[in-house]
Amino acid sequence: MKKIGVVRFPGSNCDRDVFQYVQDHQYQAEYLWHLDQFNIHDYEGIILPGGFSYGDYLRAGALSARSPVMKSVADFAQKGRPVLGICNGFQVLVETHILPGALVQNSGLKFIDGWVNLKFENQSTFWAQKESQKNIRLPIAHGEGRFYAPQAELEKIEDCGQVWLRYESNPNGSLNDIAGVLNRTKNVAGLMPHPERAYADWMGGIDGWSFL
């Protein structure tokens, strides 16, 4: 069975949820501890789950970005292998500069929980592949999800087709309504919404299923 690595930082809190999500997709799931590097040939893909890694001290994702496991993740991404960052995982990928931009405090200055409508702008080479539908609905839960980049960088992100997902109605003040971005080669993707919280009817939606 193909294996997906789920990175575990101290303070990750969606790690168990993503583990379950991966298993339900008939992959083998394996935790990757923040202090350990891993053999990049052992995994089909890597997911960085949500939470408050290292308590979100300093800035969300800032400390995790400097942990040993991220050296392997960067290496893995560099080789064109699939990496997905969800919520805090997205913040970590941005802090490691594997993905562009920055995620800052919501414009409303409050944590927000709710459902959002989203539109796919560009395709990743691995994540959310099977889906032909462009409009989806997923839950969000974050305090620092406002996507930001200086004007020039933002234009580059747009021009290079790196905008992955856009909010239909912007909940947090993200520039250009950006909810998720891709790296240049599109094997690495990050998003603030939680696909792993919407993959069965009883969860309130199934649009998250197709992300893996």
Partner: protein
């Protein structure tokens, strides 16, 4: 000791002269040194339940065969069958939250979570029960914002969803808000309950978690006192929480429990290391030798007395066999936490506290725990209050509509949306129904059944009559659960009252406790845990007595749960009734009176029937008639594109009456006949109120309004509430 210093000492340690004399006679000498601090903490109302104990014993009767391991533990364990068990408890953090709302509320959440995972159960859901004063009152906006941020900041970060709750606003809470939190923990098949009774002389006493600081010293005693104008000076008594540490503590404790490395474990809550060490010893009928200088501290100037009383957060005390310590400490080290041996279990039934080689005290733990004073505070038998022959309203139809619209947009109508949008409701992957619903439902990962969760107690009813309000604290939330097909299984409570030394307060307390017990017996849903918060008074002004409750229940699946709002144009809207008492909604008529009588048996049967009916697939949505009466309940069922057309003429009095009890059912038009047959077979009184329509909200010829205005009021209210706060 001369007279002045003696009285000063009693005051400082909040020990009465009679209690002092009791201590002297038990010890055979006056207390010395740190013993003052020990008695102050463990004999405080907060730790000893001295005013409530004899009444709380009445809940023992409610226990049934589903409750295992209730004796002496933090909470009873409820067996759900199929190997799944639940531990749940509710606790107050009123005083600290009023002084410092963010930290007070945050540490309230942290504390209740530790109560749950100390028993080996992973926390899966949180609920809040909040009572604020008038939103215009002094500091109230800061308090609302701070409390909500505190709960959200802590709960979201530790990764436990806050899935339900209740918020009340009443001027009676202007100077003493209530912040109660409930946590529910799950033991999956093959997971073991962990206990707190220390065992095995020679075993190590291990301190884990955050370091001890001077925060929260005398917290337990503070919580056992009324507020005065100097409350602000008590800020240093409020603890500071760190949810990140708590998360590490949860994961590491689970790991050592699963690896079977722990003999006994207890969180350090109120009165910190004192209560955990003495209680663990007392329960295990052993003693402990503790080296206080081995306790990890944040501040090297800290004194032994402060270590004993510190309420620094995110700490646990556990007992482990010496040969397992190295494996245990490796687990904590992996999670970046200290695990330090600070003592050992001894056979002699004495807790011996040492500081740098000196023995500070050697004292029988039972003297502080089991032999703490118990008071039978004076109270009188309950006589019903504010009960009248007739209720009637002079409110005119046209005024009613405008009042209804403004109610929907008021803090009463919409504050909850503002609050729960700040709570993570889905982390943990179990949430089938979150805080945007009347009742939360979590899907159990093994059996796939639905675990219902809700909180209760309506201060507006308590204000009328404490006995009616006590019954209602159980019956109303149980009815709300029943309307979603959930059978209530067990209850926890958090009894927030004023000064128990005042007979009228104590009488309300006893009336409410007995009502909760009786309702619990009728529903066969035992009271498995609880908390009492007395002295909720400021400058002699008591709060409304508020016995908050938390209920859990089960339904077989999470499929086809009736929604809270109308689902289908043209479907029939029924009102199912079993009314024994009524009152005019205080939101529309400022009268404090009720009619009828309390009929617990009848209500219990009604709840049972509603639960069964709610499982029918033809039932599209349901709502128990509640706050604001029938009119508000119908309006709350409307949403854009789904309004209501009445078939009967409803008077203003009908619409603003809060009944005990009625439930609105929306039933598929095609199933109307079958449904009515079932109602007749079950012998349930019912009325067809009307049907679901597309555009209007029509209650009678005189009382109607465009549906858009109802929708707008609901939405605008939410925005307005936030604006008000900004």
């Amino acid at each position: 000791m001369n007279q002045i210093t003696h009285e000063g000492k009693l005051k400082h340690y909040r020990i009465s002269q009679a209690e002092y004399e009791k201590i002297c006679s038990m010890l055979g000498r006056p207390p010395e040194g740190v013993e003052w601090a020990l008695f102050s903490a463990l004999w405080s109302e907060h730790c000893s339940y001295k005013s409530s104990k004899i009444h709380l014993k009445k809940f023992g009767k409610t226990l049934n065969q589903t409750v295992v391991n209730a004796e002496g533990e933090n909470a009873g364990v409820v067996d759900l069958g199929q190997g799944e068990r639940v531990v749940f408890k509710m606790e107050s953090h009123n005083h600290p939250s009023f002084i410092e709302p963010y930290q007070g509320a945050a540490t309230g959440v942290g504390g209740i979570l530790r109560d749950i995972f100390t028993m080996g159960a992973r926390p899966i859901g949180l609920a809040d029960y909040l009572c604020f004063g008038n939103i215009e009152a002094d500091r109230m906006k800061t308090l609302v914002e701070g409390v909500v941020k505190g709960i959200s900041g802590y709960g979201n970060s530790v990764g436990v969803p806050t899935v339900t709750g209740q918020t009340n606003f009443d001027p009676a809470y202007n100077k003493n808000i209530l912040v109660n939190a409930m946590a529910v923990g799950l033991l999956r098949p093959n997971e073991k309950v962990s206990l707190s009774a220390a065992k095995g002389p020679g075993n190590c006493v291990v301190y884990v978690g955050a370091k001890t600081g001077k925060d929260g010293v005398h917290g337990a005693a503070m919580a056992s006192e009324s507020f005065d104008e100097n409350s602000e000076a008590k800020k240093p008594n409020v603890q500071i929480g760190d949810p990140y540490f708590e998360k590490l503590l949860i994961e590491s404790c689970f790991e050592v429990l699963q690896k079977n490395l722990v003999v006994a474990i207890q969180d350090m809550g109120a009165a910190g290391i004192t209560s955990s060490s003495f209680e663990m010893s007392s329960k295990g009928q052993v003693g402990m030798m503790i080296q206080l200088d081995q306790v990890p501290v944040r501040d090297s100037s800290i004194q032994p007395e402060e270590i004993l009383l510190s309420e620094s957060q995110e700490r646990m005390l556990l007992v482990c066999e010496p040969q397992k310590f190295s494996e245990l400490s490796q687990v904590f080290e992996k999670w970046g936490l200290d695990a330090v041996i600070i003592g050992e279990v001894i056979a002699e039934r004495k807790v011996k506290l040492y500081w740098k080689g000196h023995c500070l005290t050697s004292i029988d733990p039972d003297l502080l725990v089991e032999k703490a004073p118990v008071y039978e505070r004076p109270y009188h038998a309950w006589k019903s209050q504010n009960q009248t022959e007739k209720i009637h309203s002079n409110l005119q139809p046209k005024d009613y509509i405008s009042q209804l619209i403004s109610y929907l947009g008021s803090t009463h109508g919409t504050a909850r949306d503002y609050i729960c949008s700040q709570y993570d409701q889905r982390v943990g992957l179990m949430t089938a129904r979150g805080a945007d619903h009347d009742v939360a439902i979590l899907r159990l990962p093994d059996s796939k059944r639905g675990l219902g969760m809700t909180v209760g107690c309506r201060p507006s009813v308590m204000k009328c009559d404490a006995q009616l309000g006590g019954f209602d604290s159980v019956f109303y939330p149980a009815l709300q659960m029943a309307a979603k097909g959930i059978k209530t299984l067990a209850i926890t409570d958090c009894l927030n009252f004023g000064n128990p030394e005042k007979p009228e307060i104590m009488s309300e307390f006893v009336a409410a406790v007995e009502a909760i017990r009786d309702a619990s017996l009728i529903l066969d849903a035992p009271v498995v845990s609880g908390n009492v918060s007395f002295y909720n008074e400021t400058l002699g002004q008591n709060i409304i007595s508020t016995p908050a409750t938390g209920l859990i229940g089960l339904r077989e699946t999470v499929a086809q749960i009736p929604e809270d709002q109308f689902q289908k144009i043209g479907s029939q809207v029924y009102l199912l009734s079993s009314v024994s008492a009524k009152m005019l909604s205080p939101y529309f008529e400022n009268k404090k009176s009720w009619i009828g009588k309390i009929e617990p048996q009848k209500t219990g049967q009604f709840i049972q029937k509603i639960q069964k009916l709610s499982l029918l697939t033809s039932v599209l949505s349901t709502q128990a008639v509640g706050r604001g009466g029938l009119g508000v309940s119908l309006a709350r069922m409307c949403r854009p594109g789904f309004g209501f057309q009445s078939f009967i003429e409803m008077s203003v009095a009908d619409l603003i009456t809060e009944t005990f009890y009625e439930v609105i059912f929306e039933v598929d038009h095609d199933a109307q006949h079958d449904f009515e047959t079932k109602l007749k077979a079950e012998n349930i009184d019912y009325k067809i109120l009307g049907k679901v329509t597309e555009r209007t909200f029509n209650l009678s010829q005189e009382i109607h309004v465009d549906l858009l205005r109802v929708n707008q009021a609901q939405n605008k209210g939410l925005g307005g509430f936030i604006e008000n706060l900004a």
